[in-house]
Amino acid sequence: MTSNPETDKEGFLRNTDDWNPAIAEHLAELDGVTLSEDHWEVIHLVRDYYENYRLFPANRVLVTKIREAFGESKGNSIHLMKLFTGKPLKHIAKIAGLPKPPNCD
């Protein structure tokens, strides 16, 4: 593991294989975010989803999956917006070491 994985100018890993939990902490810190248990729930969920389906879930799908796994209080967009900065899905993808999504929303 390297403490300074190569990233592009938006902070996405150039090689998503570089990802590990310590790097997630590092990428989050660069954006001023300290990863809590709530963050990790989401990160693990999207990584599992990607592993299963080769897809980053659409917002409504992600919200539903979080609700199913962690309950009503977390199953909403506001929960994600509180945890992640800017466009939440893009930020999650970055910290979770998943492919950079096209800039189309």
Binding site: Y49, R54, L55, A58, K65
Partner: protein, 117 residues
């Protein structure tokens, strides 16, 4: 709201048509009722056990498993094309309804728009 039928007719991997068609279907499901009909070699997109590691491309066939999460429930294939390829539904990654000629004609009629890929 217009419903859209996506028709997939290309086999996977030889060209990107199948993958870009699936991307469009997943996007469409966020807007309106979307269904999908597999015809011709498009049926081969659904064959389970696709392994693209050595090919070096993304195994997007796994994404068909997410259609349920995306609310795509109308998933059908051409029965004559299934039979012609010596396939049966057990060969597929996901649950698919088989339609004969009359069934396919009705399926198309029941949607407002058709997007072919």
């Amino acid at each position: 709201m217009s419903s859209i039928l996506f028709v997939f007719s290309r086999p996977p991997h030889g060209s990107i048509n199948a993958q870009e068609g699936l991307d469009a279907l997943l996007m469409g499901s966020a807007f309106t009722t979307c269904s999908v009909l597999f015809v011709g070699d498009g049926l081969m997109q659904l064959v389970s056990g696709q392994s693209t590691d050595d090919l070096g491309t993304k195994n997007f066939s796994l994404s068909f498993g997410a259609l349920k999460d995306y609310g795509v429930t109308g998933i059908a294939c051409s029965e004559p094309d299934l039979v012609a390829r010596g396939l049966n539904k057990d060969d597929f990654l996901i649950e698919v309804e088989t339609l004969n000629a009359a069934g396919m004609q009705a399926f198309i009629r029941n949607h407002d728009k058709v997007l072919n890929f």
